[in-house]
Symmetry: D2
Subunit: 436 residues, 4 copies
């Protein structure tokens, strides 16, 4: 993870010091289990905790000789101990410690991400409520389609993020597995009871079958969830970038006092946060690939996943955290230009109401093909000549003969398109936080 996008407390989670502390916690939990089952004398873990100081540079120094990080860690600890040192790492394989500690880190990272997601959900909900009845044009293919509500657009983001919350909550469950089952996962040197007790102390569950490690499909599922979260964040970011383009300008990212959009063009105000979110979401997609390639390891494990994971776990969780924090601030401070939305609504001269005209013609008994042709013909004329579509419609006898002028006028009323909005909002009533 690069400094520029590292945020506390996620940042601290992935330091070497934090890692060694987690390893130490796992080792102690096992010793406490040993105490319970009568292998180690009562108080051993407590004594060890009291005597030991984890010193990162000292461990790295030892590793230069051992070429094995856990061996170096154990050496570092044991040299600070007396006879109780015999119980430290006793019966364990490195991966019992490393992989269980990794689950602790991933679970914690997942919780931090969930916390930010909750905050994001709240600001999205607030935004959706505030603009529930703000009319804006809905666009498909980048082309004006029909009127809709800006709040509904935001509510769609909210709903998407709710799904991501569900996925992350499952992921949290799914990464909460540890293993203290030995070199090939068969409890050759440690009783399953020791695993159960130790993991319980760490609030983890034993993975039903391990090899030397927790199988990597578990981790891949988590990274996939982050990738999908990223692509969802990108959905919002792309929308904001579109809405901030000069010709549209319906929303703007906050522009800070003193901020400069360009070293050359003093007038520039760019949606740089949204653009950044798009770039970072690409990274999240790529990490998912690596995590998937890490799944099919050889036999009872090969260690090829390890080097890759040293990059992708800090980066994937760090980036996911960063984009949620950034998006939350962006949404909170988003400037929404209701007037511009209303002006943009009208630039097609009424073409966006063409389906209502079509449906009303059909509803009046005209067959679908005839109706479609009439409306398409007028649309085409309006499009190509710049004539106002409403005028064309209200002057065409094929239409005026079946729809009276009052009804026709009503067909061009944008409010009509919002009449079912509340029923969509009501689907989220139970969510809470909803005050109008």
């Amino acid at each position: 993870m690069i400094d520029r996008y590292s945020l506390s407390p996620m940042k601290e989670l992935w330091t070497l010091n934090a890692q060694y502390q987690r390893w130490f916690e796992v080792e102690l939990a096992v010793i406490e289990a040993y105490e319970e089952v009568g292998i180690a004398p009562r108080g051993t873990a407590r004594t060890i905790r009291r005597k030991v100081r984890i010193n990162v540079p000292a461990i790295l120094e030892i590793e230069k000789g051992t070429h094995h990080d856990v061996v170096a860690f154990v050496k570092h600890v044991v040299t600070q101990l007396g006879s109780e040192g015999r119980f430290f790492h006793f019966g364990l394989t490195s991966s019992d410690v490393v992989d269980t500690a990794l689950s602790m880190a991933l679970r914690r990272s997942c919780r931090l991400i969930l916390e930010q997601l909750e905050e994001l959900l709240q600001v999205l909900w607030n935004l959706a409520l505030r603009y529930r009845n703000t009319i804006t044009v809905g666009r498909t293919h980048g082309v004006h389609a029909e009127p809709t509500s800006f709040g509904l657009k935001v509510l769609g983001w909210y709903a998407m993020m709710m799904r991501n919350r569900d996925r992350l909550e499952r992921a949290l469950e799914d990464v909460s597995f540890g293993k203290i089952s030995g070199a090939v996962g068969n409890y050759a040197h440690v009783d399953p009871k020791v695993e159960r007790i130790a993991l319980e102390k760490l609030s983890l569950r034993p993975i039903p079958v391990s090899t030397q490690i927790v199988p990597r499909d578990v981790h891949a599922a988590f990274v996939q969830t982050l990738a999908l979260l990223g692509s969802s964040v990108e959905t919002l970011a792309v929308e904001i970038r579109h809405l901030q383009r000069t010709e549209v300008l319906e929303v703007e990212e906050a522009f800070k006092e003193g901020q400069r959009g360009s070293s050359a063009m003093p007038h520039k105000r760019n949606p740089i946060l949204s653009e950044r979110l798009c770039g970072l979401s690409r990274l999240l997609r790529s990490y998912a690939l690596v995590a998937l390639e890490n799944v099919p390891l050889w036999h009872e494990r090969d260690i090829s996943h390890s080097s890759a994971e040293r990059f992708i776990f800090p980066d994937a969780t760090g980036v996911a955290y960063y984009i949620l924090v950034t998006l939350k601030h962006l949404v909170e401070e988003l400037k929404v230009n209701k007037e511009t939305m209303r002006q943009n609504l009208d630039i097609t001269g009424g073409l966006i109401y063409s389906q209502r005209v079509l449906n009303t013609l059909i509803g009046s008994g005209m067959d679908r093909e005839t109706a479609y042709k009439i409306v398409q013909e007028l649309s085409k004329r309006a499009w190509e000549s710049g004539e106002n579509f409403y005028h064309l419609v209200t002057s065409d006898p094929r239409i005026t003969s079946v729809i009276d002028s009052e009804e026709l006028a009503e067909l061009f009323n944008p409010e009509y398109y919002l009449r079912n909005i509340d029923r969509i909002y009501n689907r989220f009533k139970e969510v809470g936080g909803c005050e109008e």
Copy 2:
């Protein structure tokens, strides 16, 4: 999907004919809803169903003019109808039909995949039971580590596939959403009640907020699940390829009467199914990427996802189905060479028991560093000189002075490593199907 790997009934699911049939079902469900809410006369849907014959080439012919597949489909149907044609596609936008029908197809494909996964689970479980107590060497880094049970290895596959079943069952829930909400998702022309009734008839639920389409995070989650399933299948396939290599030869894929392993080398028996599964799992990973890139569409939808989905949905579901069927057969007919497993166990001359020696030395009161050095020294000698490790251990006074010869002999008993196997199996008791 290419013919070579297309299997029924998955294959039929993705034909154009099946697609149009699904579209027709969606249109009819909406008309039935119209009947219920009083928009269309009772019996309209029944009449339409009776009158209409879906003709694929005829639709394709119309599409050449319209450049729009749904418009062509609707034209094709309406020309077969009388006045009831007014209600066909009335108030709908193309995506109401296309996307809802897509959910029907994805759900069905997911069920087909789940069925095969169930069958695979059963054969894995049987295999795991049959070889529960078959001793084999556990390998880490490709290097002999410690004895374990071949059944346990299989049980690990079983457990991994159980997790995939859970993921697919969630995915099944997650893709069971349709939408009949109009051009920009705000029910401008169709009442939410119509959507509710129509989708209920199709056993789908309304997605809480739609745009013109069902948001693509939903579909991406499904394709991700297939990608992870693929990487899990690859895990098994890689293991089988390893175990079938000439020097190991602990298992073999069935070799059919008349089959030829090579056009040049008449002796060859290759794990070609497992190799094929590895190649196909790469495809599944790649589809997940496409599905993720399809998420951040513009505004209320752009159609860029559509062309890509024409490839990845049939291919991803088709490949997932194919690999499960293939793996099931492979596992069912797998030849397991217990004697070779036992022979391979001994090729290190007892080195695989080094940790037991180490632990027993520590258990006897020796400090960890000293014990490790003694055992590593003897291991090194055995490794480099080819001397038998057991002989070295039983001749070293540093060891024999603290462990008596009977206990030493017991340390080299592979059965010891299986003593906790049953407790792992017991974790799956509730699964059922477990009969020995």
Copy 3:
């Protein structure tokens, strides 16, 4: 490759029939080499060519028994032969035939793609020339930046596609390698001279070191080139989609007589080709991944790449071909709205000229920071109040005191920004096809 996007002659290249024909050509080339070196009697190849009819269903029928496609193919041929059949496939391993034939197919596909790329280059060049002096606004971050020429934008596409042509021409060289070197690449049964002669007849070169197959880095490089071509096509497609959005509308894809943009909204004209190109480019990216994963095969080859290649080679070349053909038509028929470009240029009220004001202030001796602050302040006011930037600039004494009014007016002349355009175009003079 799916029918919908399959175009001739690329489509025919990947039929089973074409594949068997290529296999047959490779076998015959080897026999001709055998004739030259005296292993087979003169005329053997000619006789075989005369006697044999390749029958696809017959081969597939045999394969059901052999479970090996080349063995089936050889059987099919040999049964049509007399004693000369002894020389057919003599000394060869399947991959000698399959991989050499694959190179023939890839080379041919690469040439087909290059042909389309040449045509695309021509239409891009024509477009770039036609709009060389058409003023439009340049946009960065989606926000108006400075005036530029629409032709220059197109010239950038042209230059990018020139780079892709260079890459494809290298790729063409790189895939033009065959191998007739036996089961493990050491010419155990065939003399290197036979390989040289046979490949020369097929216009291929021997790969310097083969295993059983041509190493897969060669193929991966080709697929990577297609992926980059795809992302380049996407660059153009994204731009067109942006320029066709309702608020911008500076270009439009051709809209055919009878075409329907939407089943519901008769007014819609959507950039559907460009959207399709974006979707398809995602596929090309994903194939590159698969091709990369296919590189690290086991030992002298494993066959895991084969199943994946059955998908990705037809699909990657087929999609690449399709997108070039589609883009060429799109560009040829693109409607360019010069007037709209000019109108859009002015919607910021002159803000796009801010850098010229800034530079002129600095040029007049003002220090950079002071100048930036003045211009940013006026820009901000213009932006927020809607006041015209030109009026603000020409009314500010800090500016008017150092720049006279005539010079100020000239600073807001868009023509100024095009004065170096010709010098960029001139860089491509040598390219040819350039007629004004």
Copy 4:
């Protein structure tokens, strides 16, 4: 890039300090060009270089206010200058500086990688020469195929790395483009001559058409090259992992004095470097994806690529550099067990010579189908019963009636398979460094 795998001098290339120094060099090159064309007084660049000290923390402090890194950098420099400050960054847009400096960094990184690749090529060549005539079994599908030479295997790696060198040399050319062409690439404020002079001083060429930036297909091509390099490295690493597995043990990574293979199993010697290389190659593949997604930017540039590039450029070049250095050491110190190779050659009891028997039967006039069936039948018996294939062949009258016993014995001579090896090596004679 994480510390653990960061190596000098690649590591220093990507520090913030080095980046600012490059920016400074670009700015000075432009000012020198200004001096040449008469815009700035002679000596301006020299004065600025003398006066300015780049201070990273000071720049970061300013950036907190500007939210724009180049603006902060320029401020930092200008405050150290007098009136000559007017010429600093004059007429430039941020990307002129940033993107040109980026090309400097990428070119430098590419050269560093090429240097390591050259060294790797040398050690591979040496290894290939040393074991040119060392007989080992060639394996396909993981199954023994035919005898070959270990040196030839290495020569295949060498040839693959030669191709990667070619690709990197092209890539070096391809990233050596800068741009000083202003906000939208049309030289609005800077004459093309200034660009030409400035870039020449930096040993870069002007990209023929730029937007605000150098188009990202250029960068993607470079990252793709690194990804393919990674997959090639993985090819070697996978092979070494296979050859070091306990049952094969034909090669071993060096095991250092004091090194520990496992915290639990004192006997373990694992191919951990090769495993690490496999993991890291996955990362390289994933970066290529991000680079491809960075290509289709909006209009004259959007900045979404920037955040992603802050990760992938240091990581991709850093990892590529690391894996080459690591692989070079690994190969240099690789322990090759010729005796084990010879022993493994025989474990199939002669089956690996089956094709020679087949070909000799066909050569003697027997038809292919009959010959194949005889040899396959004997192979099958040998395989299933464990009987020696040579004995079976020499006892079968169908064979002995057409091949005499001396010739038969010769068919089982592994040396035969090496008789064309030298002709393969000779293809590389011109490479140099080849001395035996």
